[in-house]
Protein backbone atom coordinates (compact mmCIF):
# COMPACT_ATOMS: atom_id res chain seq x y z
CA UNK A 1 0.00 0.00 0.00
CA UNK A 2 2.85 2.37 0.90
CA UNK A 3 4.57 1.55 -2.39
CA UNK A 4 1.33 2.10 -4.30
CA UNK A 5 1.03 5.54 -2.67
CA UNK A 6 4.61 6.44 -3.56
CA UNK A 7 4.23 5.30 -7.17
CA UNK A 8 0.83 6.93 -7.78
CA UNK A 9 1.60 10.18 -6.01
CA UNK A 10 -1.56 9.75 -3.89
CA UNK A 11 -1.73 9.50 -0.11
CA UNK A 12 -2.50 6.18 1.63
CA UNK A 13 -5.67 7.80 3.01
CA UNK A 14 -6.85 8.68 -0.51
CA UNK A 15 -6.15 5.17 -1.80
CA UNK A 16 -8.07 3.65 1.14
CA UNK A 17 -10.95 5.99 0.34
CA UNK A 18 -11.01 4.80 -3.30
CA UNK A 19 -10.95 1.17 -2.05
CA UNK A 20 -13.89 1.79 0.29
CA UNK A 21 -15.82 3.52 -2.50
CA UNK A 22 -15.26 0.51 -4.75
CA UNK A 23 -13.38 2.56 -7.38
CA UNK A 24 -10.14 0.63 -6.85
CA UNK A 25 -10.35 -3.16 -7.03
CA UNK A 26 -9.16 -4.90 -3.77
CA UNK A 27 -5.63 -6.31 -3.67
CA UNK A 28 -4.88 -10.03 -3.28
CA UNK A 29 -4.93 -10.76 0.48
CA UNK A 30 -1.83 -12.48 1.83
CA UNK A 31 -2.81 -12.15 5.52
CA UNK A 32 -5.48 -10.44 7.61
CA UNK A 33 -3.89 -7.02 7.31
CA UNK A 34 -1.69 -7.42 4.27
CA UNK A 35 -2.59 -7.31 0.58
CA UNK A 36 -0.61 -7.35 -2.63
CA UNK A 37 -1.22 -4.79 -5.36
CA UNK A 38 0.07 -5.05 -8.92
CA UNK A 39 0.44 -2.92 -12.04
CA UNK A 40 -3.32 -3.01 -12.71
CA UNK A 41 -3.93 -1.21 -9.41
CA UNK A 42 -1.40 1.48 -10.25
CA UNK A 43 -2.97 1.91 -13.69
CA UNK A 44 -6.45 2.21 -12.14
CA UNK A 45 -5.23 4.80 -9.63
CA UNK A 46 -3.68 6.88 -12.42
CA UNK A 47 -7.04 6.77 -14.21
CA UNK A 48 -9.00 7.78 -11.09
CA UNK A 49 -6.51 10.56 -10.41
CA UNK A 50 -6.93 11.86 -13.97
CA UNK A 51 -10.72 11.78 -13.69
CA UNK A 52 -10.74 13.46 -10.27
CA UNK A 53 -7.86 15.92 -10.36
CA UNK A 54 -7.42 16.86 -14.01
CA UNK A 55 -11.00 16.47 -15.26
CA UNK A 56 -12.54 17.52 -11.93
CA UNK A 57 -15.35 14.98 -12.31
CA UNK A 58 -17.63 14.16 -9.35
CA UNK A 59 -17.33 10.78 -7.63
CA UNK A 60 -20.54 9.38 -9.17
CA UNK A 61 -19.30 10.10 -12.68
CA UNK A 62 -15.91 8.57 -11.91
CA UNK A 63 -17.70 5.44 -10.67
CA UNK A 64 -19.62 5.23 -13.96
CA UNK A 65 -16.44 5.50 -16.02
CA UNK A 66 -14.61 2.96 -13.84
CA UNK A 67 -17.52 0.50 -14.15
CA UNK A 68 -17.24 0.65 -17.93
CA UNK A 69 -13.53 -0.09 -17.67
CA UNK A 70 -14.12 -2.98 -15.26
CA UNK A 71 -16.72 -4.42 -17.63
CA UNK A 72 -14.01 -5.12 -20.26
CA UNK A 73 -15.73 -2.74 -22.65
CA UNK A 74 -14.53 -1.68 -26.06
CA UNK A 75 -12.84 1.59 -26.91
CA UNK A 76 -16.17 2.64 -28.40
CA UNK A 77 -18.05 2.17 -25.10
CA UNK A 78 -15.21 3.82 -23.21
CA UNK A 79 -15.26 6.81 -25.51
CA UNK A 80 -19.04 7.14 -25.33
CA UNK A 81 -19.18 7.17 -21.54
CA UNK A 82 -16.17 9.51 -21.34
CA UNK A 83 -17.65 11.93 -23.85
CA UNK A 84 -20.96 11.96 -22.00
CA UNK A 85 -19.18 12.59 -18.70
CA UNK A 86 -17.05 15.38 -20.14
CA UNK A 87 -19.62 17.14 -22.32
CA UNK A 88 -22.25 16.75 -19.63
CA UNK A 89 -25.92 16.14 -20.10
CA UNK A 90 -28.00 19.24 -20.72
CA UNK A 91 -31.29 19.15 -18.86
CA UNK A 92 -33.22 20.77 -21.69
CA UNK A 93 -34.95 19.08 -24.58
CA UNK A 94 -33.18 17.41 -27.45
CA UNK A 95 -31.44 20.07 -29.57
CA UNK A 96 -32.73 18.34 -32.68
CA UNK A 97 -36.30 19.36 -31.82
CA UNK A 98 -35.42 22.84 -30.55
CA UNK A 99 -33.22 23.78 -33.52
CA UNK A 100 -34.57 21.95 -36.58
CA UNK A 101 -32.81 24.24 -39.09
CA UNK A 102 -29.41 23.81 -37.44
CA UNK A 103 -30.02 20.07 -37.09
CA UNK A 104 -30.69 19.79 -40.81
CA UNK A 105 -27.60 21.84 -41.72
CA UNK A 106 -25.49 19.60 -39.50
CA UNK A 107 -27.07 16.43 -40.92
CA UNK A 108 -25.87 17.38 -44.42
CA UNK A 109 -22.35 17.97 -43.14
CA UNK A 110 -22.29 14.64 -41.30
CA UNK A 111 -23.61 12.82 -44.35
CA UNK A 112 -20.95 14.39 -46.56
CA UNK A 113 -18.25 13.09 -44.19
CA UNK A 114 -19.89 9.66 -43.86
CA UNK A 115 -19.63 9.79 -40.08
CA UNK A 116 -21.26 7.01 -38.11
CA UNK A 117 -22.18 8.77 -34.87
CA UNK A 118 -24.55 8.44 -31.91
CA UNK A 119 -27.67 10.54 -32.65
CA UNK A 120 -28.96 12.18 -29.49
CA UNK A 121 -25.56 11.96 -27.75
CA UNK A 122 -24.43 15.08 -25.85
CA UNK A 123 -21.82 15.63 -28.57
CA UNK A 124 -24.51 15.63 -31.26
CA UNK A 125 -26.68 18.06 -29.27
CA UNK A 126 -23.67 20.31 -28.66
CA UNK A 127 -22.91 20.40 -32.39
CA UNK A 128 -26.50 21.36 -33.23
CA UNK A 129 -26.43 24.14 -30.62
CA UNK A 130 -23.12 25.45 -31.98
CA UNK A 131 -24.50 25.61 -35.53
CA UNK A 132 -27.66 27.30 -34.24
CA UNK A 133 -25.58 30.02 -32.51
CA UNK A 134 -23.62 30.73 -35.70
CA UNK A 135 -26.90 30.99 -37.60
CA UNK A 136 -28.43 33.24 -34.92
CA UNK A 137 -25.47 35.64 -35.20
CA UNK A 138 -25.83 35.53 -38.97
CA UNK A 139 -22.22 34.39 -39.41
CA UNK A 140 -22.91 32.98 -42.85
CA UNK A 141 -19.24 33.07 -43.82
CA UNK A 142 -18.61 30.48 -41.11
CA UNK A 143 -21.79 28.45 -41.68
CA UNK A 144 -20.87 28.26 -45.39
CA UNK A 145 -17.58 26.63 -44.41
CA UNK A 146 -19.03 23.93 -42.15
CA UNK A 147 -17.85 21.20 -44.52
CA UNK A 148 -14.28 22.49 -44.35
CA UNK A 149 -14.39 22.63 -40.55
CA UNK A 150 -15.83 19.09 -40.43
CA UNK A 151 -12.95 17.86 -42.62
CA UNK A 152 -10.41 19.41 -40.21
CA UNK A 153 -12.32 18.00 -37.22
CA UNK A 154 -12.24 14.58 -38.87
CA UNK A 155 -8.45 14.71 -38.91
CA UNK A 156 -8.31 15.68 -35.23
CA UNK A 157 -10.75 12.95 -34.14
CA UNK A 158 -8.84 10.33 -36.14
CA UNK A 159 -5.53 11.33 -34.51
CA UNK A 160 -7.22 11.25 -31.05
CA UNK A 161 -8.56 7.72 -31.56
CA UNK A 162 -5.35 6.40 -33.10
CA UNK A 163 -3.33 7.91 -30.26
CA UNK A 164 -5.28 6.16 -27.48
CA UNK A 165 -5.99 2.90 -29.36
CA UNK A 166 -2.37 1.84 -29.03
CA UNK A 167 -2.40 1.93 -25.22
CA UNK A 168 -1.46 -1.21 -23.24
CA UNK A 169 -4.69 -1.62 -21.25
CA UNK A 170 -8.27 -0.36 -21.28
CA UNK A 171 -7.48 1.69 -18.15
CA UNK A 172 -4.63 3.35 -20.01
CA UNK A 173 -6.86 3.89 -23.04
CA UNK A 174 -9.56 5.59 -20.99
CA UNK A 175 -6.96 7.69 -19.20
CA UNK A 176 -5.76 8.71 -22.66
CA UNK A 177 -9.31 9.48 -23.78
CA UNK A 178 -10.02 11.56 -20.66
CA UNK A 179 -6.72 13.41 -20.46
CA UNK A 180 -6.56 13.65 -24.22
CA UNK A 181 -9.97 15.29 -24.34
CA UNK A 182 -9.13 17.73 -21.57
CA UNK A 183 -5.50 18.59 -22.29
CA UNK A 184 -5.58 18.27 -26.08
CA UNK A 185 -8.31 20.89 -26.35
CA UNK A 186 -6.26 23.91 -25.16
CA UNK A 187 -3.39 22.62 -27.30
CA UNK A 188 -5.50 22.59 -30.46
CA UNK A 189 -7.01 25.99 -29.57
CA UNK A 190 -3.54 27.53 -29.20
CA UNK A 191 -2.21 25.88 -32.37
CA UNK A 192 -5.20 27.27 -34.28
CA UNK A 193 -4.38 30.77 -32.98
CA UNK A 194 -0.77 30.43 -34.19
CA UNK A 195 -2.05 29.20 -37.55
CA UNK A 196 -4.41 32.21 -37.71
CA UNK A 197 -1.40 34.50 -37.15
CA UNK A 198 0.43 32.80 -39.98
CA UNK A 199 -2.44 32.95 -42.46
CA UNK A 200 -3.23 36.58 -41.56
CA UNK A 201 0.47 37.30 -42.21
CA UNK A 202 0.28 35.62 -45.59
CA UNK A 203 -2.87 37.54 -46.48
CA UNK A 204 -1.30 40.86 -45.44
CA UNK A 205 1.70 40.25 -47.64
CA UNK A 206 -0.49 39.31 -50.59
CA UNK A 207 -2.34 42.62 -50.12
CA UNK A 208 0.92 44.57 -50.14
CA UNK A 209 2.08 42.92 -53.34
CA UNK A 210 -1.29 43.37 -55.01
Amino acid sequence: MAELAARSGLTVATIKFYLREGLLQPGRRTSVNQAVYDASHLERLRLIRALAKVAGLPLDTIREVVQVVSGQSSILDAMAVTQDALVGERGDEDSEDVEPAAAETLAHVIEARGWRYQPGSPAHSAAIRAVAELQAEDLTMLVDRLDDYARAADAVGRIDVQAVAGADSLDATIRGVVLGSILRRPLLDALVLLSQQHHANVLDQEDEHA
Copy 2:
Protein backbone atom coordinates in the same frame (compact mmCIF):
# COMPACT_ATOMS: atom_id res chain seq x y z
CA MET B 1 -31.09 57.34 -33.27
CA ALA B 2 -34.40 55.52 -32.77
CA GLU B 3 -33.89 53.72 -36.07
CA LEU B 4 -30.33 52.80 -35.08
CA ALA B 5 -31.69 51.29 -31.87
CA ALA B 6 -34.34 49.30 -33.69
CA ARG B 7 -31.87 47.99 -36.26
CA SER B 8 -29.10 47.09 -33.79
CA GLY B 9 -31.36 45.59 -31.15
CA LEU B 10 -29.82 47.92 -28.54
CA THR B 11 -31.66 50.51 -26.44
CA VAL B 12 -31.23 54.25 -27.12
CA ALA B 13 -29.72 54.57 -23.63
CA THR B 14 -27.06 51.95 -24.45
CA ILE B 15 -26.22 53.66 -27.75
CA LYS B 16 -25.88 57.02 -26.00
CA PHE B 17 -23.58 55.38 -23.47
CA TYR B 18 -21.35 54.02 -26.26
CA LEU B 19 -21.31 57.50 -27.84
CA ARG B 20 -20.26 59.13 -24.54
CA GLU B 21 -17.56 56.49 -24.04
CA GLY B 22 -16.21 57.23 -27.51
CA LEU B 23 -16.76 53.67 -28.73
CA LEU B 24 -19.29 54.74 -31.34
CA GLN B 25 -18.22 57.52 -33.71
CA PRO B 26 -20.57 60.62 -33.59
CA GLY B 27 -23.20 60.99 -36.28
CA ARG B 28 -23.22 63.85 -38.81
CA ARG B 29 -25.02 66.77 -37.09
CA THR B 30 -27.92 68.25 -39.08
CA SER B 31 -29.16 70.53 -36.28
CA VAL B 32 -28.46 71.12 -32.56
CA ASN B 33 -30.33 68.03 -31.44
CA GLN B 34 -30.42 65.97 -34.62
CA ALA B 35 -27.73 63.73 -36.13
CA VAL B 36 -27.63 61.34 -39.03
CA TYR B 37 -26.24 57.85 -38.64
CA ASP B 38 -25.33 55.55 -41.51
CA ALA B 39 -24.42 51.93 -42.19
CA SER B 40 -20.97 52.38 -40.61
CA HIS B 41 -22.63 53.23 -37.27
CA LEU B 42 -24.81 50.14 -37.41
CA GLU B 43 -21.78 47.99 -38.26
CA ARG B 44 -19.82 49.48 -35.34
CA LEU B 45 -22.72 48.83 -32.95
CA ARG B 46 -22.92 45.22 -34.07
CA LEU B 47 -19.20 44.88 -33.36
CA ILE B 48 -19.47 46.48 -29.90
CA ARG B 49 -22.47 44.29 -29.11
CA ALA B 50 -20.50 41.17 -30.11
CA LEU B 51 -17.53 42.21 -27.98
CA ALA B 52 -19.68 43.06 -24.97
CA LYS B 53 -22.51 40.55 -25.02
CA VAL B 54 -21.12 37.49 -26.75
CA ALA B 55 -17.44 37.75 -25.80
CA GLY B 56 -18.19 39.36 -22.43
CA LEU B 57 -15.15 41.64 -22.73
CA PRO B 58 -14.69 44.58 -20.33
CA LEU B 59 -15.13 48.15 -21.61
CA ASP B 60 -11.38 48.90 -21.64
CA THR B 61 -10.69 45.92 -23.87
CA ILE B 62 -13.55 46.83 -26.18
CA ARG B 63 -12.08 50.34 -26.46
CA GLU B 64 -8.71 48.85 -27.46
CA VAL B 65 -10.28 46.70 -30.17
CA VAL B 66 -12.39 49.60 -31.47
CA GLN B 67 -9.32 51.85 -31.62
CA VAL B 68 -7.57 49.34 -33.85
CA VAL B 69 -10.58 49.29 -36.15
CA SER B 70 -10.77 53.10 -36.24
CA GLY B 71 -7.07 53.26 -37.10
CA GLN B 72 -7.71 51.59 -40.47
CA SER B 73 -5.54 48.67 -39.43
CA SER B 74 -4.91 45.50 -41.37
CA ILE B 75 -6.55 42.14 -40.72
CA LEU B 76 -3.25 41.11 -39.13
CA ASP B 77 -3.39 43.91 -36.54
CA ALA B 78 -7.06 43.24 -35.95
CA MET B 79 -6.43 39.57 -35.38
CA ALA B 80 -3.50 40.23 -33.05
CA VAL B 81 -5.44 42.59 -30.79
CA THR B 82 -8.49 40.30 -30.84
CA GLN B 83 -6.45 37.22 -29.98
CA ASP B 84 -4.75 39.06 -27.12
CA ALA B 85 -8.10 40.26 -25.79
CA LEU B 86 -9.66 36.80 -26.03
CA VAL B 87 -6.77 34.66 -24.81
CA GLY B 88 -5.99 37.19 -22.11
CA GLU B 89 -2.61 38.15 -20.80
CA ARG B 90 -1.23 35.88 -18.12
CA GLY B 91 0.52 37.78 -15.37
CA ASP B 92 3.26 35.21 -14.95
CA GLU B 93 6.59 35.07 -16.71
CA ASP B 94 7.02 34.14 -20.33
CA SER B 95 6.16 30.46 -20.83
CA GLU B 96 9.24 30.11 -22.99
CA ASP B 97 11.49 30.63 -19.95
CA VAL B 98 9.34 28.60 -17.54
CA GLU B 99 8.96 25.58 -19.85
CA PRO B 100 12.08 25.36 -22.02
CA ALA B 101 11.51 21.69 -22.97
CA ALA B 102 7.93 22.32 -24.11
CA ALA B 103 9.04 25.50 -25.91
CA GLU B 104 11.64 23.53 -27.85
CA THR B 105 9.18 20.78 -28.78
CA LEU B 106 6.73 23.40 -30.02
CA ALA B 107 9.45 25.25 -31.93
CA HIS B 108 10.16 22.13 -33.99
CA VAL B 109 6.46 21.72 -34.80
CA ILE B 110 6.12 25.37 -35.83
CA GLU B 111 9.23 25.14 -37.99
CA ALA B 112 7.91 22.02 -39.72
CA ARG B 113 4.72 23.91 -40.62
CA GLY B 114 6.61 27.05 -41.66
CA TRP B 115 4.34 29.23 -39.55
CA ARG B 116 5.18 32.92 -39.27
CA TYR B 117 3.83 33.77 -35.81
CA GLN B 118 4.24 36.35 -33.05
CA PRO B 119 6.75 34.96 -30.52
CA GLY B 120 5.75 35.93 -26.99
CA SER B 121 2.11 36.47 -27.95
CA PRO B 122 -0.51 35.06 -25.54
CA ALA B 123 -1.31 32.40 -28.16
CA HIS B 124 2.34 31.31 -28.26
CA SER B 125 2.53 31.16 -24.46
CA ALA B 126 -0.73 29.19 -24.32
CA ALA B 127 0.64 26.66 -26.82
CA ILE B 128 3.81 26.16 -24.79
CA ARG B 129 1.77 25.66 -21.60
CA ALA B 130 -0.48 23.12 -23.35
CA VAL B 131 2.52 21.10 -24.55
CA ALA B 132 4.06 21.28 -21.06
CA GLU B 133 0.87 19.85 -19.51
CA LEU B 134 0.82 16.93 -21.95
CA GLN B 135 4.47 16.25 -21.12
CA ALA B 136 3.80 16.52 -17.37
CA GLU B 137 1.02 13.92 -17.63
CA ASP B 138 3.38 11.74 -19.68
CA LEU B 139 0.90 11.59 -22.58
CA THR B 140 3.62 10.66 -25.05
CA MET B 141 1.10 9.23 -27.51
CA LEU B 142 -0.32 12.73 -27.90
CA VAL B 143 3.01 14.58 -27.78
CA ASP B 144 4.30 12.23 -30.52
CA ARG B 145 1.41 13.38 -32.74
CA LEU B 146 1.96 17.13 -32.33
CA ASP B 147 2.86 17.46 -36.00
CA ASP B 148 -0.43 15.85 -37.02
CA TYR B 149 -2.41 18.12 -34.71
CA ALA B 150 -0.56 21.17 -36.05
CA ARG B 151 -1.46 20.13 -39.61
CA ALA B 152 -5.16 19.92 -38.63
CA ALA B 153 -4.91 23.25 -36.75
CA ASP B 154 -3.38 24.81 -39.86
CA ALA B 155 -6.48 23.88 -41.84
CA VAL B 156 -8.77 25.39 -39.19
CA GLY B 157 -6.80 28.65 -38.95
CA ARG B 158 -6.72 28.98 -42.74
CA ILE B 159 -10.50 28.54 -42.96
CA ASP B 160 -10.97 31.09 -40.13
CA VAL B 161 -8.87 33.73 -41.89
CA GLN B 162 -10.38 33.10 -45.32
CA ALA B 163 -13.87 33.30 -43.82
CA VAL B 164 -13.38 36.74 -42.28
CA ALA B 165 -11.13 38.19 -44.99
CA GLY B 166 -14.03 38.42 -47.41
CA ALA B 167 -16.09 40.73 -45.17
CA ASP B 168 -17.23 44.12 -46.49
CA SER B 169 -15.58 46.35 -43.86
CA LEU B 170 -12.92 46.14 -41.19
CA ASP B 171 -15.66 46.36 -38.54
CA ALA B 172 -17.35 43.36 -40.10
CA THR B 173 -14.01 41.54 -40.29
CA ILE B 174 -13.27 42.10 -36.63
CA ARG B 175 -16.79 41.09 -35.69
CA GLY B 176 -16.12 37.89 -37.67
CA VAL B 177 -12.79 37.37 -35.93
CA VAL B 178 -14.31 37.89 -32.48
CA LEU B 179 -17.52 35.93 -32.97
CA GLY B 180 -15.69 33.36 -35.07
CA SER B 181 -13.18 32.77 -32.29
CA ILE B 182 -15.86 32.45 -29.65
CA LEU B 183 -18.62 30.60 -31.48
CA ARG B 184 -16.46 28.51 -33.81
CA ARG B 185 -14.63 26.93 -30.87
CA PRO B 186 -17.59 24.95 -29.42
CA LEU B 187 -18.51 24.00 -33.00
CA LEU B 188 -15.08 22.51 -33.70
CA ASP B 189 -15.06 20.81 -30.28
CA ALA B 190 -18.41 19.14 -30.97
CA LEU B 191 -17.43 18.15 -34.52
CA VAL B 192 -14.26 16.54 -33.17
CA LEU B 193 -16.37 14.53 -30.69
CA LEU B 194 -18.59 13.27 -33.53
CA SER B 195 -15.50 12.40 -35.53
CA GLN B 196 -14.11 10.51 -32.49
CA GLN B 197 -17.34 8.50 -32.37
CA HIS B 198 -16.97 7.65 -36.03
CA HIS B 199 -13.33 6.60 -35.82
CA ALA B 200 -13.93 4.58 -32.64
CA ASN B 201 -16.76 2.84 -34.53
CA VAL B 202 -14.44 2.08 -37.43
CA LEU B 203 -11.79 0.73 -35.05
CA ASP B 204 -14.33 -1.47 -33.24
CA GLN B 205 -15.49 -3.00 -36.50
CA GLU B 206 -11.92 -3.64 -37.59
CA ASP B 207 -11.36 -5.47 -34.29
CA GLU B 208 -14.43 -7.65 -34.85
CA HIS B 209 -13.31 -8.61 -38.33
CA ALA B 210 -9.75 -9.29 -37.18
